[in-house]
Symmetry: C2
Subunit: 581 residues, 2 copies
């Protein structure tokens, strides 16, 4: 099966939504982020309302998705973002990407807008696509929704769905993807993609890949050999082979806290007293004690297995292992040092369909505004339950950190382009500040993970407290990331490919073997650069300027302990990131 | 007394706020909007947080304020706007402008930010300025506040103050000025200036001009003669001499409804069944019946007297005569056809310190979101009382129409640069659409009142339903308005000066006589153009582009009854407004 079809769904067509299947046309050869950003850039009017009929939601498996390549199941979801007003690609793990790839679909494009508030489910099978109204699904949490879908369609389908937050069209609403246990735990969290899906009247896309197989590479032997070397490279790297499997992404809590770059109490300092209590080792130990899992893949074909299963004290499932950024946003950033509280928040976010990062940032801002005390976990859970109930307070928080700050009159709001920063203070890791400032996505650590070289010693080393070299580093990482996001590869493979030339070549050979076409290091870079150019151009046409490529002013003025530094990369240097792409 | 001093107050200085008096320096010769926009443009970093220490609040009487010139008491208030993120000049009538002028102050500049949440009052007298903490004033409505100030400082002082909305730093918070009866009824409503005053910890500025006199013109005879001719011109014009005195600004309800350009039910149509019930004639009749006043000046020196006094059915004072835009925003735009309801809303807005227009727009959006039914006046009052209480819902609404739309997930939000449109649909009055789109202030009918020529036949005539000529019209009016706002003249003098060459020359001669310097028609235009350039430049440096000079897309797509037209001025023509200044 080649991935050569696009499903185009018009939710605003006549009396009922329409579906057409079409060839790839100008989108041939694209996948993942290259696909979503190309479609948004080509088809979405930059000044349209993100919740209006002219916006489109594009769901695209990566170029390697649906193959036997390890780590190749990231799903890209794109649109004009209700959170940032710019282009958005948010990606997620889970099962859907591999399944869509095996079904031969390079993209699902959802456009138009229903005339009434009917809610629809979309079923994608080898036999075709059907769209059915189903108002019984209204306002279901993702967990209850998936249970209902399971009853109707069995245990082998995957779901791409929204919770109440998406139906309410809140700007921090995520889109959930089910994991191998058919739980809605993997989210395209950032940028409010869930609100766009909600505005289209789509509750869930059910994917049934019964009787499909891995996509066949053109050069099977080359592909197979490349996959072997790629696997070895990932397993041999200390981070992807040891740290992440053992402690998950939360292994970073200790590292960033030690580095004094772990933002605490709404970005007021870089060290958190409770770090050890909520860090990776404590989390893994607790999971194991309670018969959960400390090592678990979020999708089939994963060999890193940085996820896990978090049970309560009675051994009952609560949520998947909360990611480092979730533990931070709702832990250290809110002064909360209790893993059960953080896990419950993670569960609620997954169930309501919300970005754990923008929500944690919003919670800390609410605490700064006096709505709860820093460190009060019960209050935090209560606040987040308001979102599920759709109260006014819940709607404020669910609109994300920027709106929460505006409505509550708080000045210190750590966002760029309306999107909240992640678990790395840009004063303690100056390189990530460059990425936060300049990524077309808004503040986004994954868009160019300078932490790797600033803190982890991956891809070389660079002093995290100095501005020197950070612009070049961020640019190179943003280009590489845009390529990886297009291939459908998990970002963690970057650790291996940055440090191991064989692994990098093997990754290229996976594409070579699959497509039979030459995919060189230059092609890899050109792919990422072309994606960034399209994204940047869309944002330009949407009214963004260099003034949007700036951190909030207080990061340049407010001294950050323990290093007592400010963000020092100059504005004119930030403008060099894209001037040289 | 010449107006040659600036009071500079640093609310963030050391242990207590500091006051310095300084000369005009580079700001010599400026007043009103020319003063506020020059100071903002020169001294405020364009990317600063509007609620942060780097923003400044500038309060400036007009160039003619404090003189015996009729209609010369408009006060300009400027800052970086928390509502739009751009530069803001919002102006108000009432007593303070004349009094500040007589005291010789060309501007009060409030900068910095207190370190704690102490609330201050500032007293400006002929003997100097004193700043006193007074936390007993916290969260007082403007009416109660003014009562307290009256007890302490007597019945002759004027107040510039904020209500709870400003203290809560809500983006639709206004700054109130007291009228001749010492009631807080005249507001610098637009753009959230009240939130900036709140962020500076200033509750009220009390102005005591005891024993001061009119500013003396250099050429007294010329000035006196000019004032006479100017007065005659205003009294001779049918709008300023008859319509406005008899029925107030609300005379426009019938006119705009008849023209089919009166936005109803959140901008869904141009005619309102209840127009006659809430129009100018009905309002004046009711006011007279209840022993209020149908004709009343908002400040001493006013000869138009377009205001009035609105009493309840028992003859007790409720509020000043609600303005046309208030009656529309909270009447026709919300489907409400009851003057008592509208007057109560007006009273609440004045008391809480809120922009009646952005709030009415927010109410209609809340109705579109299902929070109340269109036409339900009791529900509207209940919603607005939430703002006074500071509930979450109240904070959403008090943040203005744009944020309300975002938080409630509503797509049809009639704002430009985050500020709500006024009582003229840009499809029914294409000329005002050009002003909404391109004014540096955000959607603002007063910034270039094309309605005059499109609908009222003032300054010539132009078909309101066609795009032809609208760009030139809006540009010319924006320039003239920026000059009038700088002179401190009430905008309604524009009716006379547009139609009567003698009145126009008399207005110039008022300045000639006052200053002894030549003030020609070219100087008048150059003044306005220079103000707009500074404002535009500030916005550019704050990240605004031509993409911000656009109406929301739906005005170009959604057909507007009864004329069944869309907004037809082309984007490239909108860009000609400022390309030619």
């Amino acid at each position: 099966m080649t991935m050569d079809k696009i499903i185009r769904i018009n939710m605003g067509a006549g009396k009922a939504p329409s579906v057409t299947e079409e060839g790839l046309g100008n989108y041939a050869g694209l996948g993942g982020r290259a696909m979503t950003s190309s479609v948004v850039s080509t088809e979405v009017p930059p000044l349209c309302h993100p919740l209006g009929e002219d916006n489109k939601l594009i769901i695209a498996p990566g170029i390697l998705s649906g193959t036997a390549a390890v780590m190749s199941g990231r799903l890209s979801i794109g649109c004009k973002s209700p959170l940032t007003g710019g282009i958005k690609e948010s990606n997620a793990g889970g099962q859907p990407s591999q399944m869509l790839g095996r079904l031969g679909y390079a993209a699902i494009i959802i456009e138009g807008k229903p005339k009434d508030d009917t809610l629809y489910k979309i079923l994608v099978t080898p036999g075709g696509v059907t769209i059915t109204p189903d108002n019984k699904l209204k306002m279901l949490g993702n967990y209850d929704l998936v249970e209902k879908i399971k009853e109707e369609f069995g245990e082998k389908v995957a779901c791409i769905s929204i919770g109440p937050a998406g139906e309410m069209k809140l700007s921090a609403a995520s889109i959930a993807c089910t994991d191998p246990e058919q739980r809605p735990t993997r989210h395209a969290g950032r940028g409010g993609t869930g609100a766009v899906m909600g505005s289209k009247g789509v509750k869930v896309i059910i994917i049934d890949d019964t009787d499909t197989r891995f996509r066949s590479p053109i050069d099977f032997e080359k592909f197979k050999e490349a996959n072997k070397i790629f696997t070895q490279g990932i397993k041999a790297h200390p981070i992807t082979g040891e740290g992440l499997p053992a402690f998950g992404t939360n292994v970073l809590t200790d590292v960033l806290n030690e580095a004094g770059a772990y933002p605490t109490l709404n970005f007021k300092g870089g060290r958190f007293d409770g770090a050890a209590i909520i860090g990776g080792e404590a989390l893994a130990t607790l999971e194991t004690q309670r018969n959960g899992k400390a090592t678990h893949g979020c999708q089939k074909g994963c060999i890193i297995k940085c996820s896990g299963i978090f049970n309560d004290k009675d051994g009952n499932y609560v949520t998947k292992q909360p990611e480092y950024e979730t533990v931070w946003a709702n832990g250290g950033n809110c002064g909360i040092e209790d893993l059960d509280t953080i896990a419950m928040l993670d569960r609620l976010y997954d169930d309501f369909g919300l970005d754990t990062m923008d929500m944690g940032a919003a919670l800390a801002i609410a605490m700064d505004a006096g709505l709860a005390k820093f460190g009060d976990g019960e209050a935090a859970i209560k606040l987040i339950k308001e979102v599920g109930k759709g109260t006014s307070l819940g709607r404020i928080l669910g609109s994300g950190a920027a709106v929460t700050g505006k409505v509550l009159g708080v000045e210190r709001v750590p966002v760029v382009k309306g999107q909240a920063m992640a678990a790395y203070d840009p004063r303690g890791v100056q390189g990530i500040g460059v990425t936060y400032a300049t990524s077309p996505m808004g503040a986004d650590h994954t868009a160019g993970y300078s932490v790797a070289t600033n803190i982890l010693g991956v891809g070389g080393t660079l002093d995290p407290l100095l501005p020197d070299g950070q612009v070049d580093l961020s640019r190179n990482l943003q280009i590489a990331t845009a390529s990886l996001d297009s291939l459908g590869l998990c970002l963690f493979v970057a650790m291996a490919i940055l440090d191991n030339a064989d692994a990098f070549q093997a990754m290229l050979d996976l594409v070579n073997g699959l497509t039979g076409k030459e995919f060189t290091p230059d092609n890899f870079n050109a792919l990422g650069a072309s994606v960034l150019k399209k994204e940047r151009d869309f944002n330009y046409r949407a009214g963004f300027t260099s003034k949007d490529d700036r951190l909030p002013e207080y990061f340049k003025k407010e001294i950050f302990p323990p290093h007592n530094v400010v963000f020092m990369v100059k504005d004119e240097d930030l403008d060099q990131v894209f001037d040289k792409i």
